[in-house]
């Protein structure tokens, strides 16, 4: 197992986002923006552990199952902060509660070493739904500047692309996921790597705009 194996497309995008977060966000006073470097560090660490387990032919689903809980709480908190409308803010935590119930029921019926596919799909739907409500609130409110300079817009756009595009990957059988496609890359790695680049690219843009706002 070479060191270069640890730096696939997804990991490179995560490292770039972590560096950008450390460079641009650490001066940020608002609590929730300061959470991004921590979140990205946890994701990167989990990605490396998961990758090393996969290389050793050890199942890594339990790791990702735990990670999804962490992600769902973090994203719920983000949407809670980004949404201005009070009832949607409460809805975020209500839906998070439903997700956790769904997750626990899947954990009850499945082995923890299996991937919780339904919970992952449900999480995708939740994120797409709250991304749409975020866009709707942007359309509804009279904002006098372009949304392209609005950091939460980039955060949500990254999430929207990632979960809207990659949702299908969690519905197809494992054999197809492992098919080698363009450049002898595994289909799953190619798709997830591409969407990770979009997700973290959007986040880097958000961090840059946030930094400009601070200045």
């Amino acid at each position: 197992m070479a060191i270069a194996d640890f730096f696939n497309l997804t990991v490179c995008a995560e490292i770039a986002a972590l560096i950008a977060a450390l460079l641009f966000i650490t001066r940020q006073r608002h609590g929730y923006w300061r959470l991004f470097p921590l979140y990205l560090a946890v994701i990167l660490l989990a990605e490396w552990i998961g990758f090393s387990l996969r290389m050793q032919r050890i199942r890594n689903h339990h790791l990702y199952n735990i990670l999804w809980i962490f992600q769902s709480i973090f994203f719920s908190y983000l949407f809670y902060r980004f949404h201005q409308v009070k009832y949607i803010k409460y809805q975020v935590f209500f839906v998070l509660g439903i997700f956790l119930c769904f997750y626990l029921s899947e954990a009850f019926y499945r082995s923890f070493s299996d991937s919780f596919q339904f919970s992952r799909q449900f999480l995708s739907i939740i994120i797409i739904f709250f991304s749409c409500t975020f866009y709707f609130s942007l359309l509804k409110h009279d904002i006098t500047s372009t949304p392209l300079r609005f950091p939460p817009f980039w955060i949500v756009t990254g999430l929207f692309f990632f979960y809207f595009g990659s949702a299908i990957m969690f519905t197809i059988p494992m054999e197809i996921k492992r098919t080698r496609v363009i450049g002898n890359m595994i289909l799953y790695d190619l798709v997830m790597g591409t969407f990770s680049c979009i997700l973290y690219g959007s986040w880097v843009t958000a961090f840059i705009w946030k930094n400009r706002q601070i200045q």
Binding site: L138, T144, S145, P147, E175, T179, V181
Partner: protein, 255 residues
């Protein structure tokens, strides 16, 4: 298997394009909406500015009318009265002191009235600059001996003639408020240029007013006028400790 993988890539590509289209549409829609809002706000501001301008013009016209009326009617009546008193003085040969004092007081009233009507006359105001007009106004106040006013500014007011008239009216209103409502006996007016702005302050030693009393007294009128010049106005006042009116105006480069 490879065929299925290709189908999935195509489906994902289509989904990504749909997402991109949604985002692009949202950005385009918000941009268009924000442009419309900006245009609407600009129009609103322009309308407000025009409204303020016309308010000021109407007020100036009213002042001019009052000034003319004072000069032509009341002034003429006073002059006739003074002339009659003079004639009476002469016919009596040895007129009583009270008559002489009455004649002198009437003369003083005629002079006061003349300077007051001049102050209200826009055409007259346009012939002079802010400094001269204010000095004349201060001299007029000081002749009464009840109030002591002073103006400390040696430079040339860096504003257009029209702006100087509006500023003069603001200062005039502040002085009137200090005398009438504040019952001040000392008023100090200062002006200073700083960072492309002119700062004018009108400070008095009157009874001041609380924030609850900040309505009326022509304050909104003063604020309107300051806004018309693109500036700001603030009142610094503590009850029984005087008032300072702070006016900040941008210096026009064409001035």
């Amino acid at each position: 298997m490879e065929k299925s993988a290709n189908t999935i890539i195509i489906v994902i590509s289509i989904l990504t394009l749909v997402a991109a289209f949604v985002i692009a549409y949202i950005v385009y829609f918000i941009k268009r909406k924000s442009t419309l809002i900006e245009e609407k706000n600009a129009l609103k501001e322009e309308f407000k500015q025009q409204l303020r301008q016309s308010q000021v013009e109407v007020q100036e016209h009213t002042f001019q009318q009052i000034g003319k009326e004072l000069h032509d009617n009341v002034g003429q009546l006073l002059i006739t009265s003074k002339m009659l008193l003079g004639l009476t003085e002469r016919s009596l040969g040895n007129p009583p002191d009270m008559l002489i004092t009455a004649n002198a007081t009437l003369g003083q009233a005629i002079n006061e009235l003349r300077s007051l009507s001049k102050m209200l006359d826009r055409e007259w105001l346009e012939q002079f600059n802010f400094n001269n007009n204010l000095k004349t106004e201060i001299d007029r106040i000081n002749t009464g001996n009840a109030v002591q006013a002073e103006f400390n500014y040696s430079g040339n007011m860096p504003l257009k003639a029209e702006a100087q008239i509006i500023l003069f009216r603001i200062v005039q209103e502040a002085i009137q408020n200090a005398i009438k409502h504040g019952r001040a006996d000392k008023i100090i007016i200062t002006a200073a240029e700083q960072n492309d702005e002119i700062h004018i302050s009108v400070a008095d030693n009157g009874r001041g007013f609380s924030s609850a009393e900040k309505t009326g007294m022509g304050l909104s009128n003063m604020r309107h006028r300051a806004n018309l010049l693109g500036g700001t106005i603030a009142w610094d006042s503590i009850p029984e400790n005087g008032t300072t009116v702070k006016i900040t105006l941008p210096i026009s480069k064409e001035a």
